[in-house]
Symmetry: C2
Subunit: 398 residues, 2 copies
């Protein structure tokens, strides 16, 4: 059995980033930028007004004569001379000759003459050319997951097209004679396939494109043929059949197609049987069949793998500090992941309340959990009130 950290490192080492595609700006949010985006213009393009008011020469005496006005898209093209002013608005280009803007609330206007109530300082209320960015500046760096703010920045840089990593195709294979598709008629002894659908949703949420393979029956031939359908995927994830029981055919079936097995057991609970290997160039992850273990292994291993494919780092899920409200026993050699609810206590600290049933077949308790408490191998017993680290599933959105 290898550790969670070693397993993740070995999985990531088998991953290469996928290629690049061009998408329209409108569809780029949430995607991972593949190349730096540089500004195609300078902003502001000239010195501009930061307020609605009048462009003036700061040191001129009052009253001043208004000799023109700007409007959005229609700059004033003349020049301000001694004792002159030009009406302008936020964002208007500062007319030649002006060195300050006075705001309209500070001005008394009588026909074309204005008097300024507050002393003007040279440079006031002017946004200088390039204050936000200059042509050629890197606006968004490659390998950034794009948010709506980045989309605004790329738009302002005058780009309509965005180079992003294409969505990695993740083939998902569920195996088992007893498995049916959701909504299909239920015979006695049957189980509805749920892990593979949760996995597909997780793959999509992480920026991948799921390819849900037909359920393979429990024969070597059926599983091997299903793997053939996955040949052009970027990653194959199998669900179930990864342990060493008599009915665990996945490893043997894939071996018949040339899979090189890396490891198949990790020191983790829930989730001991986790298989990793390569089928030709394609990495494969064999997740345990049990729902909680399947989901946690996806969060701990498949999510970083997808991120690495997208050119990101593939860091483990973020941990935050919490306070456990009940005693925790000493842990054995397997890293444990205890499902819990989080409550913000009166002192502002997060309190972790363990679910009564930690049975890893319990899908419903998993859906209710806010977080998992991390228990390192051989972690000592902890009293109620002790500090623990948790992974917030609610914040992950997964």
């Amino acid at each position: 059995m290898i550790s969670v950290e070693e397993a993740r490192a070995r999985i990531l080492a088998s991953i290469v980033p996928v290629g690049i595609e061009i998408v329209p700006l409108s569809l780029a949010s949430g995607r991972v930028l593949a190349e730096d985006i540089r500004a195609r213009l300078t902003n502001p393009p000239q010195d501009v007004s930061a307020m609605d008011g009048y462009a003036v020469r700061a040191n001129d005496p009052d009253p001043r004569r208004v000799i023109g006005a700007t409007a959005a898209g229609h700059p004033f093209t003349g020049r301000i001379g001694p004792g002159e002013a030009v009406r302008l608005f936020t964002g208007s280009v500062l007319p030649n000759g002006a060195d300050a803007v006075v705001i309209q609330e500070d001005v008394a206007r009588d026909d074309d003459l204005i008097t300024v109530r507050e002393l003007a300082q040279p440079g006031q209320h002017i946004r200088r050319k390039g204050r936000d960015f200059n042509e050629g500046d890197v606006m968004v760096a490659a390998n950034t997951r794009l948010t709506p703010r980045h989309i605004g920045l790329i738009a302002a840089s005058n780009h309509a097209w965005v180079p992003v990593r294409r969505m990695p195709v993740v083939a998902i294979l569920a195996t088992g004679d007893e498995i049916i598709l959701p909504g299909d008629p239920l015979a006695p002894g049957c189980i509805v396939s749920s892990n593979s659908h949760a996995l597909a949703a997780l793959v999509r949420a992480c920026g991948g494109q799921p390819l849900l393979l037909p359920i393979a029956r429990d024969t070597l031939a059926a599983i091997a043929e299903a793997a053939d359908s996955a040949r052009h995927a970027d990653l194959l994830i199998t669900s179930g059949g990864a342990s060493v029981g008599e009915h665990d055919l996945v490893a043997r079936a894939l071996a018949s197609r040339g899979m090189v097995l890396d490891f198949w057991k990790i020191a983790m609970r829930p989730g001991k049987p986790l298989m990793h290997g390569k089928l030709g160039e394609m990495p494969m992850l064999g997740l345990p069949g049990n729902p909680v273990a399947s989901y946690l292994c996806a969060v701990l291993f498949a999510k970083p793998a997808l991120e690495r494919m997208l050119g990101l780092h593939g860091a483990p899920p973020k941990r935050v500090a919490a306070r456990v409200v009940s005693d925790l026993p000493e842990n054995d050699r397997r890293a444990d992941h205890l499902r819990c609810k989080l409550i913000t206590a009166d002192d502002g600290q997060l309190e972790a309340h363990l679910h009564g049933m930690q049975d890893s077949s319990m899908l419903r308790a998993l859906a209710d959990a806010d977080a998992v408490i991390l228990r390192a191998p051989f972690a000592p017993a902890l009293p109620a009130g002790a500090a623990v680290e948790v992974i917030r599933l609610d914040d992950l959105g997964l």
Copy 2:
């Protein structure tokens, strides 16, 4: 000027939830469930084994004779009598007559006889019928934003179709003679439209469907006609033209189409000009033209409005505690939102580092910010090290 809280309450009061559509399970993640999902089956459907091993009668003496085996989807249909055992695997239905499971590691097998090394307790390693859920149980409640875990739960409940709120259509209108679309040729004095593209991405991230209207020129007729194109949207958001300057035509143009104005000024910085009204049945939000104000008003007002349309509560963005590392001056009567970076200090606390330039026209500084520090109206001056509340933009994914 009304407060941020009153503005949000008045906006939410103008919103009704949108209708329901049916989507396939594979496309339901991230959508908001419109009706309770109830289990169509019981899980486990019978008492089943929690381990790979043998079904036995706990109090029988060893050795026991193995009279059969189960396999996934192929239950053992006989009955276990005195001194008998049946080979079975995790999830196998417990054969009639058995009252315990012994795990394979604890068993010595010699041909069809087994000897159990550990004393068996009645009920051990059995998952009882319905332990996870029972037919008819509410598995996921209406008005839940679905995550991959919910998708697993809905699949396990044997549903292939999911009733969700349809995506609210949000018409986005940018106005201005000087505005061009990203990538279009740039003439002097022009500005590339960026707010509306950031807004469209934000609408999509919140579960809405953006409808990006053509840019309206600065005439009453052009803006009124653009509003006509938005007639069947669920919400109209305008970008820019919301303040009281001479070129702010939006209110007048929409009034000519019958808009009932609710308010147009809030006690907030950046973002004072925020307009809210109704055009027939359609609510409208007029966001300020300045990029940082536009974005923050979208996070504080448009996001809750969209959530309310989806049947969610529309709560304000979550706040967390942080420690500011520099002095903050006393605040005036407008709620302030200071852009900052967050760093986790050695003691585990979040430190908020203010951006040097809080100029609200600075798109690039906004994209770099991790959070905004909230400063209530008339908040007193704070020394470096004081506690503040921040909205984490990084965690929002916006």
